[in-house]
């Protein structure tokens, strides 16, 4: 096991496309690091450069302190789990798992012992004589894992290993990969486009966009303190609500005007973010997570004093709580970044966002308590937890933190 470090790493393909720019990151020994981002953000390229499957254009990559830029993949002593598993179709499960050990001339009884150990950890003991073609998707995934863990390498690299599994199996394997990683304590770098995987699995999460590292943080901190609009909208489901708001100063302190509603900014927030008072009279992007909005009509609303008025357009009871889609009279924040994220998911959504930008109405998603009786068509008051508001500069798209 070893630490991994990226030092100003860049990748330019032969046709001139830049995939990764000035990527610097330290992954501690034993850490579970997740690279997350939309497709084409450079996460896989970064991983492949570490694996040695892609040449490094700029910068240095170190494994355990040694620069590995010019080392052949087989000399880097790292194991990789591929998205399509890349099992050897003509070999039995046993030979698939044992292959790397055999290549390294490990003594046969040692091979047998280690393969049996790996098979036990992964619950593959009964499948060892089968060929990959006879296995289910989940079992193949386990074999791919087995091939990695049997080697006890310096680091595990995983490139979207769960994306070919169905939803239920994915949740199960998510937990299992986490458990195995904790048991073995092997440094792991895990690439995914799924922010839920990133949040649930990583010790730390690195968010990438267009080849550039945006933020590296523990999942909760990433969720609570996104450094820019991209991270704010990428992390979290439902997405963070973003509205255009004007900062104003009143006798009682700073407020932000959202359409025809006015939200007070708590004194502590204003004190911690002097940037806000410098923007009095200017517009900012206001971010609110859905769980910080509550039906003000409920008896026990413990949320702060801010109120937004809006019309409910749709509700989705989830059993535990109720998602309410509420149209409020404020301009949405539509940046190129957001369009990209939306366009990634679906083109129609991106077009809708663009059309809405001209109008002064935005649909926000609120996570209400399930006993909220709100119905589509109603006009309601929404309580806002003002201490949990996020502010971003509309120009730079960076969070206003100081």
């Amino acid at each position: 096991m070893a630490s991994v470090s990226f030092d100003g790493v860049g990748k330019v393909y032969r046709d001139g496309t830049r995939a990764v720019r000035d990527f610097s990151l330290e992954v501690a020994d034993g850490e579970f690091m997740v690279f997350v981002g939309p497709s084409g953000c450079g996460k896989t390229t970064a991983l492949r450069m570490l694996a040695g499957l892609e040449a490094i254009t700029e910068g240095k990559i170190r494994i355990g302190g040694d620069v590995v830029n010019d080392l052949h993949p087989r000399r880097r002593d790292i194991a990789m789990v591929f998205q399509n598993y890349a099992l050897y179709p003509h070999m039995s499960v046993y030979r698939n798992i044992a292959f790397a050990l055999k290549v390294r001339k490990t003594p046969p009884d040692e091979i047998r012992r280690r393969v049996d150990d790996a098979a036990r950890i992964l619950g593959l003991t009964d499948q060892l004589e089968k060929k990959p073609g006879q296995l289910s998707g989940g079992q193949r995934q386990r074999v791919a894992m087995g091939r990695a863990i049997v080697r006890a390498p310096q680091a595990f690299l995983m490139d979207e290993p769960l994306s070919n599994l169905d939803a239920k199996l994915r949740v199960q394997m998510r937990g299992e990969i986490g458990r195995i990683q904790r048991e073995l304590g092997t440094t792991t770098i895990y690439v995914t486009h799924d922010q839920v995987e990133a949040m649930t699995m990583g010790t730390r999460v690195a968010v990438l966009r267009k080849g550039e590292l945006q933020q590296v943080e523990q999942p909760q901190r990433l969720y609570d303190n996104p450094v820019n609009l991209f991270v704010a909208s990428f992390i979290g489901s439902p997405e963070m609500n973003l509205l255009e708001a004007a900062i104003e100063r009143t006798e009682s302190g700073l407020t932000c005007r959202v359409g025809d509603s006015v939200l007070p900014i708590p004194a502590e927030t204003a004190a911690a973010r002097p940037g806000l008072s410098r923007r009095v009279g200017a517009s900012v992007a206001l971010g609110v997570r859905s769980e910080h909005l509550q039906d003000a009509g409920l008896r026990e609303v413990r949320l702060g004093s801010g109120r937004l008025r809006g019309t409910v357009v749709a509700t989705e009871p989830l059993g535990s709580d109720l998602l309410a889609y509420i149209e409020v009279g404020a301009a949405p924040v539509v940046t190129e970044e957001l369009l990209e994220v939306a366009g990634d998911a679906d083109r129609a959504l991106a077009d809708k966002l663009r059309a809405e930008a001209g109008e002064r109405r935005t649909i926000v998603v609120a996570r209400f308590a399930i006993d909220s009786r709100t119905r589509p068509g109603e006009t309601i008051e929404v309580a806002v937890e003002t201490s949990k508001l996020h502010f971003f500069d509309l120009e730079t798209e960076a969070a206003i933190v100081d």
Partner: protein, 275 residues
């Protein structure tokens, strides 16, 4: 309804099969006849063992036919093996490595095969003559390798392209060098491709006539097609029963080979070799 459909499709298949196999059956029957009986229409099916023995005895002992079979097997075998030894790694390189002009090279190589052998037979003959290789097996083996290579390379490119590149990458991370990846992991997977390309090369070389005619000029070095032709033309009038026996003996080795590898050929031609 389904049964009727089945019967019809089997009937059609049997008909196609009969059309395919009929000439060969006719050949087989002819090779058992006395010279005078070959003109009988339809041929009678009462076989005379002594006559069969005599016909084949003439071909094998009097005409030294086994020498030609041996020559053909040596030349075809050696050429095909070398075409594979050179063509398989080349196919791998074209499939996996992106080097300067790799695509241009690949299509250039294929275009070599577009030329009919007639067009290049004379230049090749002159080349062989300058090398002093006329009337030797090597004089045929070298051009035959050159003829087979484009086909081998292209078929192998197709087969290697079918194998996900992640298999190579996984094998490299498991500790193999590139050549080891090819020989230890990919070759077993690409075996149907090798059989298919070997078969195509083999059949071409086995039947090749023109170049053989130019390069070989002594009867003990002749391959089957040349020998068969000279057996028939030198003698007059033609002994059709003997000619038929020659035909049967020519087909048998290649038929035997095809039966042995047909499992791979079917798998290879229908592609989707891995998965």
């Amino acid at each position: 309804m389904r049964i009727v459909g089945r019967i019809i499709s089997y009937a059609v298949l049997v008909l196609i099969g009969l059309i395919g196999i009929a000439p060969f059956l006719y050949l087989l029957v002819l090779s058992s006849k006395a010279r005078i009986d070959v003109l009988e229409v339809p041929p009678s099916l009462d076989f005379n063992w002594a006559q069969i023995k005599e016909n084949y005895d003439v071909v094998i002992n009097e005409k030294h036919y086994l020498t030609f079979v041996k020559n053909s097997i040596i030349i075809t075998g050696v050429s095909t093996v070398f075409a594979l030894v050179l063509g398989v790694p080349a196919g791998y390189a074209f499939s996996r490595l992106r080097f300067r002009g790799s695509e241009t090279w690949a299509s250039t190589i294929l275009s070599f095969r577009f030329m009919p052998p007639v067009a290049v037979a004379i230049p090749i003959f002159l080349l062989i003559q300058h090398l002093g290789l006329t009337n030797s097996h090597l004089g045929l083996i070298l051009p035959y390798i050159a003829f087979s290579l484009p086909l081998v390379i292209w078929i192998m490119i197709g087969f290697f392209d079918e194998i996900p590149i992640e298999i190579d990458e996984a094998a490299m991370m498991d500790g193999l060098t590139r050549p080891q990846v090819l020989f230890k992991v990919l070759l077993p997977l690409a075996r149907p491709g090798m059989v298919v390309s070997a078969t195509f090369g083999l059949i071409f070389i086995w039947n090749e006539f023109l170049l053989g005619l130019y390069v070989i000029n002594s009867s003990e070095k002749e391959t089957i097609p040349i020998a068969a032709a000279s057996l028939l033309t030198v003698e007059s009038p033609i002994d059709w029963n003997i000619a038929a026996a020659v035909g049967v003996l020519t087909v048998i080795p290649i038929l035997f080979f095809t039966i042995v590898v047909q499992r791979y050929i079917v798998r290879g031609l229908t592609a989707g070799a891995v998965r």
